[in-house]
Amino acid sequence: MSENRGAAVRYDSVQKSYDGETLVVKNLNLDIARGEFLTMLGPSGSGKTTCLMMLAGFEPATHGEIYLNDNPINNVPPHKRGIGMVFQNYALFPHMSVAENLAFPLQVRGMDKSEQESRIKRALDMVELGAFGSRRPAQLSGGQQQRVAVARALVFDPELVLMDEPLGALDKQLREQMQYEIKHIHDNLGVTIVYVTHDQTEALTMSDRVAVFNDGVIQQLSPPDMLYESPQNSFVAQFIGENNKLNGNVTEIGGGECMVEVAGGIKLRADPVNIAGIGSKTTLSLRPERVELQPEKPMDNMVDGKIEELIYLGDHIRVRMSVAGNSEFVVKVRNRGERRKIAAGDIVPIGWAAGDCKALDAVG
């Protein structure tokens, strides 16, 4: 990573081990720009929460340094870092009212009463809970508690706010609504937000950039669309969205394309993203909606597949096929109102563009 001066947060060669035997975070380098909404996305145990806890100051880094506004903070205790944090399950103080919860960070900063009150009011109005100041957290619904937690993390005007799976406890509908609200708050206040989640929809909806974690390493750091459109490796392709895998060997490289031979001797044209060279193994990654069933015009890649199963899903039809030895090959056919004459057992031609088919590192 370049020495990007002026970043809000910078992880510099950070490593973390709990037991002295295995590294939970392996040599993390990451710059987070001021005002950015960065999401750390990954399966559980991938090290994303550990990275957040090290930034908040609740876990010491085993090696390396974390900088906050270019100041090293390894030896700064959590309460002096001035970072707002929203916890999983909110961690609202149950023995205090909502207003007292919000007053807490202001009281410990010795702010005078009238200033406290105006700030609490502003923060509560921001999350549309102006009338709930005297309630106890237990008297609020999950979504309301969540908003209070957000308001509390913002009430003392931190430049950086950390969120640790804050929407995990909410039901689906509320979760989607809160995603937009948090996004709007971020846009309005211009704070830097570091957000941890294992939910890819959340990550894609809200973030400026997403860091995909696996096995203690950032697999890819990109804006959401890039993450989906051009995954850098098989893990990312598999983790983000739906994905068809075809294993094969590279036979030719040239002209910005490569030729891959998959099972059954079928040769396919692909975009060489992450391959070692001619003769190396590769895994082709292909999004289900980029495949055309019975294409009208010839396409870069044309193969025959056997339809195994049809699932009607309203806006599209999910077709599970056997293609080149892969019986889990999925094609999404948009529902345009026309009746296609296809049934399970049929053998039909399918096609896709070479650019939509990414040749990535080989897996499985």
């Binding site: 959590p78 309460h79 023995h95 410990v108 993390a153 003392f156």
Partner: protein, 423 residues
């Protein structure tokens, strides 16, 4: 057919399909369930009634029961009704005649000494008087008044008869008066002389020592419970075994161990002398006094403080303290403003448990308390097993019970019993 589910509009009663009111139907359906669960608890219920509720009720009753006088000397009790101690004269011949008849019968039944003992609680010397009069009473000839006075002059005094008359009713408040250092004299209820007062002082000391023990248990137990709750499961289980270890050792052994440690030639004194902190000539007196009681009982009751504290602290998510720190609170503020208030239910539970246990504690104060460290319970035990004044023991016990209930009520008002969590 009209056996559908009735319409409630007709008479406002919801009916089942066969026309009986639904409530009645439901009760009948539930009755079998209830009966079965009642049968399941029946053995325990019977055991508790027999071994706990009935003895307690009996003891409570004994604190006011006084039928011995009426049963032993029934004729005298009737005859004394006419006599007024305020007249300043001993009762007349008819009372003595009745008393003689009663007394001879009591002597035959060997009951006269028991009565003497009972009256001795009210007036020392009565026991001796009754015993002395036992055999001579059988040879007495009328007039009985002279005959009794001949055996002992006390029979001619107003006080003796006033005591008997006063003790005549079947129920008495005498034991309760005794239990609060008061007694009934010819002039009404009075406190006993200053140098004879003991029970109020003992109640006070029991309260004071119990509070001191509760506080020291809290001071020692809180950090341990905190440590237990914050350690990872494996090491906290190990420590928990250490906390529970005392439960597997006999109470007597633990108490005796403190005797070994704290006595003047004991381990602690030896050590202090060896490091030169204490002169060999004036070794510290740490046992058979209040200090010994407080130390030993704090040690014995400490688990009862730690366990409720631990179970409450275990439920406090570490995220609360983290949240407080992320909001800018230093370690102390985060603890005091966020962690401590959430641990109060555990403090309440532990404190009330230790306090109630210590207020009625008996064995440890008996063994290490000497004279300055004993509790009211030791006095109750003395009256049960040594002085055999069960009435007074019952009165003291009743007062202790009432006191605990009163404190419990006050505690409920201040802390709120629903704030108490045992786990």
């Amino acid at each position: 057919m009209s056996s559908t589910i009735s319409d409630p509009a007709s008479d406002g009663v919801v009916r089942a399909a066969d026309g009986t009111p639904l409530k009645q139907r439901l009760n009948r359906a539930l009755r079998r369930e209830k009966l079965r669960s009642f049968l399941l608890i029946l053995p325990l219920l019977a055991f508790i009634v027999l071994s706990f509720i009935m003895p307690i009720a009996d003891m409570l009753f004994r604190s006011v029961e006084n039928q011995i006088v009426e049963e032993t000397i029934p004729l005298t009790v009737v005859a004394l009704k006419e006599w007024d101690p305020a007249s300043g004269e001993a009762p007349g011949e008819e009372v003595f005649a009745a008393f003689h008849a009663d007394f001879v019968q009591a002597f035959k039944d060997k009951k006269h000494t028991r009565l003497g003992l009972r009256l001795n609680y009210d007036e020392p010397g009565m026991s001796g008087l009754f015993r002395k009069t036992g055999r001579p009473s059988t040879k007495m000839q009328p007039p009985y008044k002279e005959a009794f006075i001949k055996v002992d002059e006390d029979w001619g005094t107003v006080e003796t008869w006033a005591v008997i008359k006063q003790a005549s009713p079947a129920y008495t408040d005498g034991y309760f008066l005794n239990a609060v250092d008061a007694h009934r004299t010819a002039k009404g209820i009075e406190m006993v002389p200053e140098n004879e007062r003991i029970y109020l002082f003992l109640f006070g000391r029991t309260m004071f020592l119990s509070i001191v023990i509760t506080m020291s248990c809290l001071l020692l137990g809180y950090p341990i419970a905190f440590l237990l709750a914050s350690l990872p499961l494996r090491s906290s289980n190990m420590l928990m075994i250490l906390v529970l270890l005392p439960f597997w050792t006999s109470l007597l052994v633990r108490t005796s161990a403190w005797k070994v440690l704290l006595q003047q030639q004991g381990v602690v004194n030896d050590f202090l002398v060896w490091i030169g902190l204490v002169n060999d000539a004036d070794r510290l007196i740490m046992i058979n006094n209040q200090f010994g009681t407080i130390v030993a009982m704090t040690h014995i009751l400490l688990p009862f403080m730690i366990l409720p504290l631990f179970s409450v602290m275990k439920t406090i998510s570490p995220n609360y303290v983290r949240a407080a720190k992320s909001l800018g609170a230093n370690d102390w503020t985060a603890f005091w403003k966020v962690y401590f208030p959430q641990s109060i239910p555990g403090i309440g539970a532990g404190a009330i448990l230790v306090f109630i246990l210590s207020i009625g504690y008996y064995i440890t104060p008996e063994l290490v308390g000497g004279t300055s460290g004993i509790f009211i319970s030791n006095r109750i035990a003395y009256h049960i097993s040594t002085s055999l004044n069960w009435g007074l023991a019952a009165a003291l016990g009743t007062i202790l019970l009432a006191l605990v209930m009163l404190l419990f009520y006050v505690y409920d008002k201040i802390v709120g019993i629903d704030n108490v969590k045992l786990g």
